[in-house]
Symmetry: C2
């Protein structure tokens, strides 16, 4: 008998028919003799509808009350899925974040999981019940409801799998696995049977949108066996696991991220501590900075450019202007018509020719590169947004296709 | 400084405009220097919508999961009202039933309140916060969510007022007080400035639909000063309080209840324990029996008639048939085309002429009486449903008008 955690996203439970589809998946796993814990998100557009309801009343509500509101979405899902499983004739119980004991810090709207109680969970599993858990939500030390922010339900599932030392954590999505590139857009994109945590991390942060990075990071930390599976088709998915013993493909995937904007501080007098002042200011406002480039100094001045999520551009510009003034920068520039395209693969580290081959692919396609960033297992380039899809295809053709 | 509990029903918070209307009421009370606790129900049709969602999946879901589902309705309301109060610039926090510590028994769907914690509530009030509490819901000893059933939010408000020893518990409704009869239907109906708990109890159970009996019973038990006030108009309401020192009007109100059906067991051989067998069977199925009449025996046989809510008629008939067979009754009859009309007033007890005057009013209006039931402060008659409104008007004209 194995312990299996299964996570289903909002589109998987969007209506009664789909709820039953999930219920059958779950009970099939249960019938095989497994202990099953299911994590679900809010149905379809529920979260958006709730946000709209809030905005009608207060455009800037406190995050505490927002979490109080949004957490109802998952509570609705868990009860409906439990009712469907009851209807199929199986023993089941649903648990909210606070009932389970999903303890988080107090950062409403983007809380971090601190500890996961297993007492209640184990008690229900011992009674041979299927346990349905509300994803995305927790409780802080004040007994107040928190939500985990983007990718929260994936993270809930992995945290529970880690706490229970589960044998497998399956993330059901609307795709049937992790591909070398977005199969809807890139010709010749191939499904991977397996991928390492690190590669998945790079792919996820590059916008592959299959698994959120937080969940992969946690899975890596606690060595949770992850599997990305289709909610709709019963075909094998992609296993995400530790890198050892995996076949080393040179490039595992190509991804793009269009939710990105670039900010440049131009002609800053070159004094020590510039970077610290800029990035500590951004960090204090919790703005996620991705690629950072600092030009080589000239005439005692230098430029610093970095990328932020497009949704955080305005805030970033507001907080960075005073810093730029203080540092004596000539001006602050920004542009949003850019995209980041990345090639990811653990095999890259020991293959110095990879970057050159990637640039060659882009040059052949006549695509100009604005910025370059490299890591052990990833090469990213910034290109014009209109060239993003062509860039992905060109790189994919070169390495995978 | 007083402590005031204010309860607003679902129609009072049905949309953003009404939520702000409530928010202004609440903050006006707060600005006068009072500690304010607000209890709210689910918005408008939310509960019905959730029930429909459930029925789509499972026509007979477990009550535990139903409570898990339905309790989200109030949670949505409390967060939205808190956001509106934030928008008006006042300190506020919302609390669910479990956060507050509204402890109930484990009867999902119709739980009884056992104890109310005041620690968290008092802590928030001490911080000068307006506290918004989810009505209708609690938590049982298993840490599972329960709902209180009909009239639940009124009961929540009274329970909190009792626990806090609040100075006043205001129930905001869509009428502006308690009337001598339904003002939409009875000409000359008058608003009462005050009414005793016992009179209110009789009126409420007779279908006046202003305050649910459970809340009035609890208010009486803990001597909570109740006030029924309009959500929409700022006019004085009706105070519900202890009977001493109140002016004794002969008849305080006239009410009708059409949700009623009569069952008769005809020609039962007269042996001891008949009534016990019949009514213990009905009680075991939690069927509420109201008026009971037993005929004087004749030829060693007698008839027993009683009324039940119309919604419970089918169940009552099913459980009573085997009992009737066992007792040797000739047949079981039932009819639904009846209504109960009642005159209520603490002054009745010492005025033996009241019943006669009431029957005279009905006779003058040519209305036939099927059954009669009297108590210390109430006289009820069963009449044909088509005569119900005329009966109310005739009695009202005689005593009040």
């Amino acid at each position: 008998m194995s312990t299996i955690v299964q996570k289903f996203g909002g589109s998987s439970v969007a209506n009664a028919e789909r709820v039953f589809n999930v219920a059958r998946r779950v009970t099939d796993t249960y019938k095989e003799g497994n202990s099953v814990v299911v994590v679900v998100s809010a149905q379809g557009d529920t979260t958006d509808d709730l946000i709209e309801k809030a905005k009608e009343i207060n455009e800037n509500p406190s995050k505490r009350e927002m979490d109080m509101l949004l957490s109802t979405g998952e509570q609705i899902s868990i009860s409906l899925l439990a009712m469907a499983i009851e209807k199929l004739g199986f023993p089941v119980t649903s648990l909210t974040g606070w009932q389970l004991g999903m303890h988080t810090d107090a950062s409403y709207g983007s809380a971090r999981i601190k500890t996961v109680d297993t007492e209640r969970l184990q008690k229900e599993l011992d009674k041979k019940k299927i346990v349905i858990v509300a994803g995305f939500q927790g409780i802080n030390k004040y007994d107040d409801i928190t939500t985990l922010g983007r990718g929260g339900s994936d993270t809930t599932a992995v945290a529970i799998a880690a706490a229970l030392k589960a044998d497998l954590c399956q993330i059901y999505t609307d795709v049937d696995g992790v591909y070398t590139a977005d199969p809807r857009k890139v010709e010749g994109a191939k499904k991977l049977d397996e991928i390492s945590f690190d590669e998945m991390l790079e792919l996820a942060s590059q916008g592959a949108q299959v698994l959120h990075n937080r969940s992969v990071e946690m899975a890596k930390k606690y060595n949770v066996n992850l599997e990305v599976v289709s909610s709709f088709d019963r075909v094998p998915g992609t296993k995400v696991k530790e890198a050892n013993k995996m076949e080393k493909m040179l490039v595992k995937g190509v991804a793009k991220d269009c939710d990105i904007a670039r900010i440049s501080l131009v002609a800053i007098p070159d004094t020590p501590g510039i970077a610290f002042q800029i990035f500590s200011t951004l960090a204090s406002k919790k703005i996620n900075v991705d690629i950072i480039l600092q030009s080589i100094g000239r005439d005692g001045k230098k430029d610093i450019s970095f990328t932020v999520p497009e949704s955080e551009l305005q805030t970033a510009l507001e907080v960075i202007q005073p810093v730029a003034d203080k540092l004596g920068a000539k001006e602050v520039l920004h542009r949003e018509d850019i995209a980041k395209v990345s090639a990811v693969g653990a095999g890259m580290a020991n293959n110095p020719g990879v970057a050159a081959k990637m640039f060659e692919a882009l040059a052949d396609a006549g695509i100009n590169i604005h910025m370059i960033s490299t890591s052990e297992i990833k090469i990213s380039v910034l290109v014009n947004i209109k060239n993003a899809d062509r860039a992905v295809q060109a790189i994919h053709d070169k390495f995978v296709g």
